[in-house]
């Protein structure tokens, strides 16, 4: 296909899209400040930027979710007014969101048909199935149409999201971080197919990403946003990952990776043997997992989300009962009760800390005291709480961990994601820690916060803490871990020293090959 299209210039049916001088203010905050982006027909255009740089705001303005305060949008050579997502769809604009928008328990067929604007009152499923099969024959994507979406692998689900937009006749596609839950191989396949369709002249693509590798390999042009302004734009060939990173972060100094003390790993602190646990539906999620973490070592757990990582962390945090197997800390059986956690100094930084490690309506000071509130000096006799002491301790932690809050008495739910993360980190890491379990600790945070939290984790390791780090971000694991294991279908399928890690092998293991 590609050979042919390069010889014979294809007929270009996909439109070009141009956003001109877009400005969007939320109250006093300017999220977009006169940003212009020109996406030429039948190209893949990458939109790069940190969290909060304005990427989402820009595409939401293009898709009609937000009304820009200033600026205009040109599709093809006509200026258009897009006031809601339906209008965008009529103009052939489609967006694949970062979170999946298909209904998990319905089949691909049902999802696609119901997304159409012209669903008949009585649906003839046999006919719809035939029509969809005929449509799929013209597409490079292969997906099982009669499977419930929940039963699809993440890669197939992402394909289904893309196919849905194409089925709705989108010729301009916005992909928001499309590969964040995919293995490298799945990501390459999907981006390759998208790019082939663009080369064919059938599709124009705007892809939001923070992965330089994908920009360099699959995009024709790139626009970099920083703090609501376009700070760079042009063909990808004129850029290197380093130059893109500089554009993205600006002059702000990013904390250097925490220095790693080259201490040898010590005794085994955390040992998991034959662990089994079920997920919320009663299906096995962790199936016979074995794992050891030594003192002064960070063990990274890689894997595509949904392979039992969440359940593993919940068992270790005492939030989910194990079905079988043993967890030992310092050689003794560990049941994750409060007394055991205190005795063995086991601490946990779960993902989505606001939901799984905080009481949102209680104050920052109270949340920070959860581990110690019932012991001296915070409680007299184990039941009379001394709020003053708690508040003073919280103030010290807030200063030390740079938690931005209006006051220690503010409900923790009023803090931003990064600051909730810092507050929980302060609670879990401030004392003596023998074992730390951390799951996606920097998910959704900006560069500065990421560097900060990574430094804290490495620092804990240098002090002799055994760290189990579960993450969906392979780059994070490669940067922080001493040892890397790959989790697939609830078990460890691969183990390697990070220094000797081979990305291809890891990718294959993540996909279960």
């Amino acid at each position: 296909m590609n050979v042919l299209t390069r010889v014979v210039p294809p007929e270009v049916t996909a439109p070009g899209v141009e956003a001109i001088a877009m400005t969007k203010r939320f109250g006093g905050f300017t999220a977009l400040d006169g940003v212009s982006v020109r996406i030429r027909p039948a190209t893949v255009h990458a939109l790069l930027g940190e969290n909060g740089a304005g990427k989402s705001t820009l595409v939401k303005c293009i898709m009609g979710f937000h009304r820009p305060d200033e600026g205009s949008i040109v599709i093809g050579d006509r200026e258009v007014e897009i006031d809601n997502p339906r209008t965008a769809q009529r103009h052939g604009l489609g967006m694949v969101y970062q979170h999946f928008t298909l209904v998990p328990r319905m089949t691909v067929l049902e999802n696609l048909v119901m997304a159409r604007a012209d669903v008949p009152a009585v649906i003839d499923w046999a006919k719809e199935r035939r029509d969809l099969a005929a449509f799929l024959d013209t597409m490079p994507f292969r997906i099982p149409v009669d499977s419930p979406v929940a039963a699809l692998a993440a890669g197939d689900r992402q394909k289904a999201e893309i196919v849905k937009q194409l089925y709705l006749k989108a010729r301009f596609l916005i992909l928001d971080e499309p590969t964040s839950v995919l293995t490298p191989a799945e990501a390459d396949e999907i981006l390759g197919l998208i790019r082939a369709m663009a080369l064919d002249g059938r599709l124009t693509v705007l892809i939001i990403t923070h992965k330089f590798r994908e920009v360099m390999a699959f995009a024709d042009e790139v626009t970099v946003l920083r703090r609501g302004r376009a700070v760079g734009s042009g063909p990808v060939s004129g850029h290197t990952p380093d130059s893109l990173a500089r554009l993205m972060v600006g002059e702000a100094a990013v904390a250097a990776p925490a220095p790693r003390a080259a201490a040898p790993a010590g005794a085994v602190r955390l040992a998991v043997e034959g662990l089994r646990a079920d997920d919320d539906t009663g299906m096995p999620a962790v199936r016979g997992l074995d794992l050891q973490v030594r003192a002064g070592e960070i063990v990274g757990v890689a894997g595509v989300s949904g392979n039992g990582q969440v359940e593993l962390v919940q068992v270790l945090a005492g939030q989910r009962p194990a079905v079988a197997g043993t967890v030992r800390v310092n050689g003794q059986p560990y049941g994750a009760t409060r007394a055991e956690a205190r005795r063995h100094r086991v601490f946990c930084l779960p993902e989505e800390p606001l939901r799984s490690a905080c009481v949102p309506g209680m104050s920052v000071a109270e949340n920070m005291a959860f581990r110690v509130f019932d012991r001296p000096p915070f409680a007299a006799g184990g039941w009379w709480l001394k709020r003053g002491a708690m508040r003073r301790a919280a103030e010290a932690l807030i200063a030390r961990y740079r938690v931005k809050t209006t006051s220690p008495d503010a409900p923790i739910a009023t803090l931003s994601g990064g600051n909730v993360q810092r507050a929980v980190l302060a609670r879990e890491l401030s004392g003596e820690v023998d074992v730390l379990v951390a799951a996606n600790p920097v998910f959704g945070l900006d560069f500065a916060a990421v560097a900060d939290i990574h430094a804290q984790i490495v620092d804990a390791r240098n002090r002799g803490t055994a760290v189990l780090l579960v993450s969906e971000d392979l780059d994070e694991l490669l940067e922080l871990s001493d040892r890397l294991v790959v989790m697939f279908r609830g078990a460890i399928v691969h183990e390697t020293a990070t220094a000797a890690a081979d990305l291809t092998t890891i990718g294959r293991c993540m996909a279960g090959h």
């Binding site: 998990p104 328990r105 049902e110 119901m114 009152a121 009585v122 649906i123 079920d278």
Partner: protein
């Protein structure tokens, strides 16, 4: 034991007859609740709706002399309650269960207040079909005297199964109940769909209530429902949100309710009150047996707050 020579055979026959007779309000309330829950909201107020339907249906049937007018008005009263529930729940940060309990109390209280004058008079009753004409045995004839509303419910259950699978409306209700976010992304109005589903559910529950006062037991009094509306809500969970299973479950509960009187009719009087409690014991036992602290309920609409 002089009961026409049937003897102990009278018991299963009476249970069958009772199942058909007693199950009808269960059936209508549970089909209505099933539809409401498919849209992702639970309406516990159906107990109040049921009593309100019984009262208003009886009053209108008495006033107009036409029992079917009573059924219609009972349904409309139920619709009003459904709309009220949906409207309150569509406000921010409103819990559907709390609203349901409030409406349950409001519905029963209002029905008792407005229904005082109708406790004495006798309203015209709903007709029934004599499907037992082929038999000479009076018990068989009376057991197969089947009311028209039961037959309507019998048709409604498969109709609902079909509609939820093969019509745009049914699919939209299910999408809203499975993922409000996905529904919004597809451009479907979540609150409006829930409003329609709750209103329809209320209509069916109201019709179920009219059966109580217009067929069996066939008069209006304040102890008429005795928790049947709430039992029917539990029955939806037991039936795994499947209208056809709702139908079978309603029959099962109806049969359990008829067990006590049936045994009494053949002379077994020991534990009469215990046997009368059979439906409630059955509810409890089934809920315990089919629930788990570790699993989500299979088949539950994902947006339902009680199963999240």
């Amino acid at each position: 034991m002089d009961d026409g020579g049937l003897g102990w055979w009278g018991v299963p026959l009476a249970v069958l007859a009772g199942a058909i007779r007693v199950s009808t309000p269960f059936l209508f309330v549970s089909l209505g609740e099933c539809l409401t829950e498919k849209s992702g909201r639970i309406n516990l107020g159906l107990e109040g709706t049921l009593v309100m339907g019984a009262m208003s249906g009886y009053a209108v049937a008495y006033g107009t002399g036409n029992p079917w007018a009573g059924v219609l008005v009972a349904g409309l009263a139920g619709t009003v309650f459904g709309v009220l529930h949906a409207a309150i729940c569509s406000l921010e940060r409103v819990n559907d269960i709390a609203v349901g309990i409030a409406l349950m109390l409001l519905g029963t209280g209002l029905a008792f207040f407005l229904g005082k004058p109708f406790i004495q008079p006798q309203a015209p009753q709903l007709p029934s079909l004599a499907l037992g004409w082929w038999s000479d045995v009076p018990q068989v004839q009376s057991a197969l005297r089947i009311n028209a509303l039961f037959l309507a419910g019998l048709l409604l259950a498969p109709l609902l199964v079909w509609a939820l699978r093969c019509t745009r409306w049914g699919m939209v209700v299910r999408i809203v109940g499975e993922s409000a976010e996905a529904a919004r992304a597809m451009g479907y109005p979540v609150n409006a769909v829930r409003m329609a589903a709750t209103a329809t559910g209320g209509f069916l529950a109201g019709v179920g209530g009219s059966f109580l006062s217009l067929y069996y037991p066939g008069s209006w009094n304040e102890g008429l429902s005795s928790g049947q509306g709430i039992t029917a809500v539990a029955l939806v969970i037991f039936a795994r949100w499947d209208p056809m299973l709702c139908f079978y479950a309603a029959l099962l509960f109806g049969g359990a309710g008829a067990l006590g009187p049936a045994l009494q009719s053949v002379g077994v009087t020991q534990g009469y009150y215990l046997l009368n409690a059979a439906p409630y014991i059955l509810t409890l036992a089934i809920m315990i047996a089919t629930s788990s602290s570790r699993h989500r309920l299979a088949g539950a609409p994902a947006e339902l707050s009680v199963t999240r």
